[in-house]
């Protein structure tokens, strides 16, 4: 299963790279979403996949079952998801402001900070 997921992550990365290279800010944002999903999947995958055994200590036990899933990557992903969401929300709001300010979402047409003719 890990192998399949490794290839899937590669595919998602490829897709997000292609989206990132777009001139449309919204597509870049789609790239951001796909990329962070891909990385989150990658984290769970490198921590190895276990199905059907959540890392919980069931009633009556004092320690976690040895066969339960690896809890650490899950904690890392949770942190990463929330951080990614914060960044994404800000970036989306920024897109809105950019459109308001410059009247376009074509990044190639945004030349306020680096005007075309420098000399």
């Amino acid at each position: 299963m890990e192998v399949i997921m490794a290839l899937t992550v590669g595919g998602m990365v490829a897709g997000s790279v292609y989206l990132f290279l777009s001139r449309q800010y919204l597509r870049v944002m789609f790239g951001v979403i796909v990329l962070s999903n891909a990385v989150n999947v990658a984290i769970l995958t490198v921590g190895r996949l276990t199905s059907g055994r959540a890392p919980l200590i069931s009633r009556g036990n004092e320690v976690m079952d040895q066969a339960a899933a690896n809890p650490l990557p899950q904690a890392l992903i949770l942190t990463a998801i929330v951080i990614g969401f914060g960044l994404l929300a800000f970036a989306l709001a920024l897109g809105y402001r950019a459109y308001q300010e410059m009247g376009t979402l074509d990044t190639a047409a945004m030349r306020a900070a680096e005007p075309e003719d420098k000399r």
Binding site: A54, L56, G86, A89
Partner: protein, 132 residues
């Protein structure tokens, strides 16, 4: 704002349930799947739906508190329990337990509040942008 009766009725019913559920999720998070994040997210989604259904002003009126206040409170609630370790000369964030209530639980509440505050701040400003 969406003038859909179904949505409005649904939200009116759903919101209290979601709020309760979010607190439940927060509470059981230490032992079952859940926790401050998820709880906070559920709560925020509830309010966001309310705002979509009834408009941002209605949400503001209902909430009464500015999201930034929630956020600031959450940050302080999240940060300060860690200092209790100093009482027993232990490092920051060393858990102190008093029965079922421990500093990690307090910390989780802080997380909950920050998530709610931050997301509401976002949703509120974004929606207000269209209505003003």
């Amino acid at each position: 704002m969406m003038e859909s009766l179904i949505l409005r009725t649904g939200v009116r019913l759903l919101l209290p349930l979601m709020l309760l559920f979010s607190i439940f999720i927060l509470w059981r998070g230490h032992n079952e799947p859940g926790g401050g994040f998820v709880g906070g997210l559920i709560c925020a989604v509830g309010f966001a739906l309310h705002a979509i259904a009834f408009g941002v002003k209605a949400m503001r009126d209902m909430l009464r508190i500015d999201p930034r206040t929630i956020l600031g409170t959450g940050l302080l609630v999240g940060i300060t329990p860690g200092f209790l370790g100093a009482l027993s000369d232990e490092p920051y964030m060393t858990a102190q337990w008093l029965g079922a209530l421990g500093t990690p639980v307090l910390f989780d509440i802080g997380v909950y509040l920050v998530v709610v505050g931050a997301i509401l701040a976002m949703v509120q400003t974004l929606m207000a942008e269209g209505e003003d």
